[in-house]
């Protein structure tokens, strides 16, 4: 059989044309794949990329009706950064992240490992841990309202009475406000993380555990050498998700304390909300959100570098 002769395309017409052809070829070659991806790309464009780009763009303008009405350079940034509430809100936001890592990072891992080891009543416990996730928001808010109520009527204060302690001010104590808000968030969010950890744990090859048992390894050795190495990618992923998520905390302080007492629980996003919706200064809200975005971008890049390092 006569071999098919390949005709080489001469790049004489210049590089741009060649590049266009290459893109076109790539598109026609992967047409079906593009068709599958297209809806997501469009959604990403309209819901994520465009608002982000537009937000960054408009943060350099004075706005009227959310329309650019005059370029002001870094003026909005200067106004946000010189606001006496900014540093406090930034500090509080890192406070939320710190307390969140301290209070809510380990419980889902411990619960998932414990559930994975359980033989009886596993379903019941799984449901119990996940239950707060499906409790309606209003009901959850009321539960925590009554738990944290200062004075004799608060449920936690009743418990303190029963062991001979005096009333606590709970959310009204500026030192306790953030940890208490994080505690209520942990109660609601723990179930979701736990399910993800449990799924990862159930993907671990059981033969490894059997082999290590034969070798005489106990629970903690198995945890150290089998469970954690398998969990580490998802731990790292959820860690970053948690930091990014908590960094954007807004609804909880808004509904539980309004950012008080005396701005002790004011977060960056709540301050952004106030700028946009309470004071009608969207340009400042945009500038503040861009600042938040840059900080989160830094954290995410750090995560990817760390992940790469650990993978090697």
């Amino acid at each position: 059989m006569k071999p098919t002769r390949r005709i080489a395309v001469k790049p004489a017409a210049g590089a741009p044309r060649e590049r266009t052809n290459r893109w076109l070829n790539a598109f026609t070659r992967n047409g079906k794949a593009w068709m599958i991806v297209l809806p997501s790309v469009l959604l990403f464009y309209f819901i994520m990329w465009r608002p982000i780009a537009e937000g960054v763009f408009l943060s350099f303008f004075k706005l009227e009706n959310y329309q650019a009405a005059g370029f002001v350079g870094f003026q909005n940034y200067r106004e946000v950064l010189s606001d006496t509430l900014f540093l406090g809100a930034l500090k509080n936001t890192f406070g939320y992240v710190f307390w969140s890592l301290l209070i809510s990072f380990l419980p889902p891992i411990i619960i998932a490992v414990a559930l994975n080891e359980m033989v009886h009543l596993k379903g019941l416990f799984k449901f119990s841990i996940y239950f707060p996730v499906i409790v309606p928001t209003v009901a959850a808010a009321l539960i925590w309202y009554f738990l944290y109520l200062p004075g004799d009527g608060g449920i936690l204060n009743m418990l303190r009475h029963s062991i001979g302690l005096k009333n606590s001010e709970w959310l009204q104590n500026p030192i306790l406000t953030i940890p208490l808000i994080i505690t209520s968030m942990t109660w609601r969010g723990c179930g979701t993380s736990m399910v993800l950890y449990l799924a990862a744990l159930q993907g671990v090859n059981q033969e490894l555990y059997e082999a290590s048992t034969i070798d005489g390894a106990g629970f903690f050795l198995k945890l150290r050498y089998i469970t954690f190495p398998h969990l580490s990618p998802i731990i790292l992923l959820l860690l970053v998700r948690q930091i990014v998520g908590i960094f954007q905390v807004m609804v909880e302080p808004m509904t539980m304390t309004g950012g008080g007492p005396n701005n002790a629980s004011l977060s960056l996003n709540l301050q952004g909300y106030n700028y946009a919706f309470v004071y009608f200064q969207p340009e400042r809200a945009l500038a503040l959100n861009v600042i938040t975005f840059v900080i989160l971008l830094g954290i995410t890049v750090f995560y990817f570098r760390l992940d790469k390092k650990l993978s090697i």
Binding site: R50, N65, S82, L85, G153, L171, Q172, G258, N262, P282
Partner: protein, 463 residues
């Protein structure tokens, strides 16, 4: 890889910027059809059937009297979360309602239309209450029509005052005459009933708003224009003593609720459920009775207490504003709609009949009728006509509101001219600071607030 990311970013930014540009000036006047179309916000919902019926009657009257105008009902009511998205996307009703405290903010953000010429043409401007007109005016132009208005009074829970023995021979609460007396009475009530004697809101800008009357009566001036520059002027001993009064309510008189993080709904709930005996309020907030189930017999209202400089209070209520970009004929159509709903200044027989029907509906619905509100239209014939209708449908024993209505020495002050909401928010934080820390020094707190308010807001005023 970098090239691809750069390309993706540039496409996104280009498309976004194009998007930004193409959005400009989409707002245009509607109503180019034969009929002028207006949409009317705050249309009553099914949970208020009497008012649905009443509005349907208005609609029928409008159609028969002005067949060239089409009114489209819109149930959207002003709400902080949805207002900006609605305004930005051009989805506001032609005629919408907002609160007095929001009007200047809305005017500055250009989320409303200038209606001066139409009001002038209709002859409404001279008849409008000058104090209320101030709320909707900027640089001599008028941007709204106040719908209703009240002044803050000291509302008292009759049952709790009776339990504490603080009533006269007619069973009417002994309203404290001064702020010191207020603290003392509140303390007595707390001791006798075990419940809060006074409720002070501290969140969502309500704390700052209520603080204004206390501060004014102590002689505080919050801001002044010095050599053309706005300057915060409340770093004074007067402001510190006004804040000291709030601090005393908690730490000296022990008269406040255990929970000091109180917003407006929480305040109404505490008062209506006999958990607090007094608060500053709209003299007859319907939510007390409708939402929180308070009995009308438990309600009474007196004048604001007196401070070293006298009695001061401020106004609240709702205002009509118009969607930005509406055509003059739509504004005229909306004014005709207000004539149909009984809210225009000329008391024709037709309008009086509607006013009569409105008060009858309010009384049937269970609202307090009998206390004269602040009149939006101050032409004498209108004031008299309205008072007659109110008397006709009075549904409370007026002795429980007499002192409020007869107080002649109460001075009503308009809101502060610049960054009002920001000032209230700043003062919220001051109030929280002295209520959550027994050792907080009011003078230090107020000085810090003064300097923050100057730096964060007044220094940044560009106009």
């Amino acid at each position: 890889m970098l090239k691809k990311i750069a390309m993706l970013l540039s496409i996104t930014i280009t498309l976004s910027i194009t998007g930004c540009m193409t959005n400009v000036n989409k707002e245009g006047a509607s109503g180019t059809d034969e009929k002028v179309t207006i949409s009317v916000g705050d249309w009553p919902t099914e949970n208020r059937p009497q008012w649905v019926e009443q509005y349907n009657t208005y609609l029928r009257n409008m159609e028969s009297k002005y067949p060239d105008i089409k009114v489209v009902p819109d149930e959207w009511a002003y709400d902080v979360n949805s207002f900006v998205p609605k305004a930005t996307s051009g989805q506001l009703p032609t005629l919408y309602e907002t609160f007095h405290t929001e009007t200047q903010k809305i005017i500055n953000a250009k989320y409303c239309a200038d209606i001066t010429d139409e009001l002038e043409k209709a002859g409404y401007l001279d008849k409008m209450n000058p104090m209320l007109k101030e709320l909707v005016t900027k640089n001599g132009r008028v941007y709204g029509i106040p719908k209703d208005a009240y002044i803050l009074g000291l509302t008292a829970n009759v049952a709790m005052f009776t339990e504490a023995g603080l009533v006269d021979e007619n069973g009417v609460p002994l309203f404290p005459k001064t702020y010191e007396e207020l603290g003392e009475y509140a303390s007595i009530i707390k001791k006798k009933t075990g419940k809060a004697g006074f409720i002070m809101p501290t969140m969502s800008n309500f704390g700052g708003w209520h603080f204004m009357s206390i501060a004014w009566s102590h002689g505080v001036t919050f801001m002044e224009q010095i050599d053309g520059k706005w300057t915060a002027t409340f770093n004074t001993s007067e402001a510190a003593s006004a804040l000291q009064f709030i601090k005393d309510l908690k730490w000296k008189y022990d008269a406040l609720p255990d929970n000091v993080l109180v917003d407006n709904p929480e305040m109404l709930k505490l008062f209506a459920s006999d958990q607090g005996a007094m608060y500053f309020s709209n003299p007859a907030d319907f939510k007390l009775f409708d939402t929180y189930g308070m009995k009308k017999e438990n309600f009474s209202v007196g004048p604001m207490p007196e401070g070293p400089l006298g009695r001061f209070t401020l106004t609240g209520g709702k205002t009509y504003m118009f969607k930005p970009g509406v055509a003059p004929e739509q504004i005229d159509a909306a004014l005709k709609w207000l004539e149909i709903t009984g809210e225009s200044p000329t008391p024709t027989a037709e309008l009086l009949a509607v006013l009569d029907e409105n008060y009858k509906t309010w009384a049937e619905e269970g609202q307090v009728v009998g206390i004269y509100p602040q009149n939006v239209w101050v032409n004498e014939e209108f004031v008299k006509a309205k008072a007659n209708v109110i008397d006709k449908y009075k549904n409370i024993d007026i002795k429980f509101a007499e002192q409020f209505m007869n107080a002649k020495d109460v001075r009503v002050k308009p809101e502060e001219p610049m960054n009002c909401q920001e000032l209230y928010k700043t003062l919220d934080a001051c109030i929280q600071a002295v209520l959550t820390d027994k050792n907080a020094d009011p003078a230090t707190v107020i000085n810090q607030a003064n300097s923050d308010f100057q730096k964060n807001y007044l220094d940044k005023i560009s106009e």
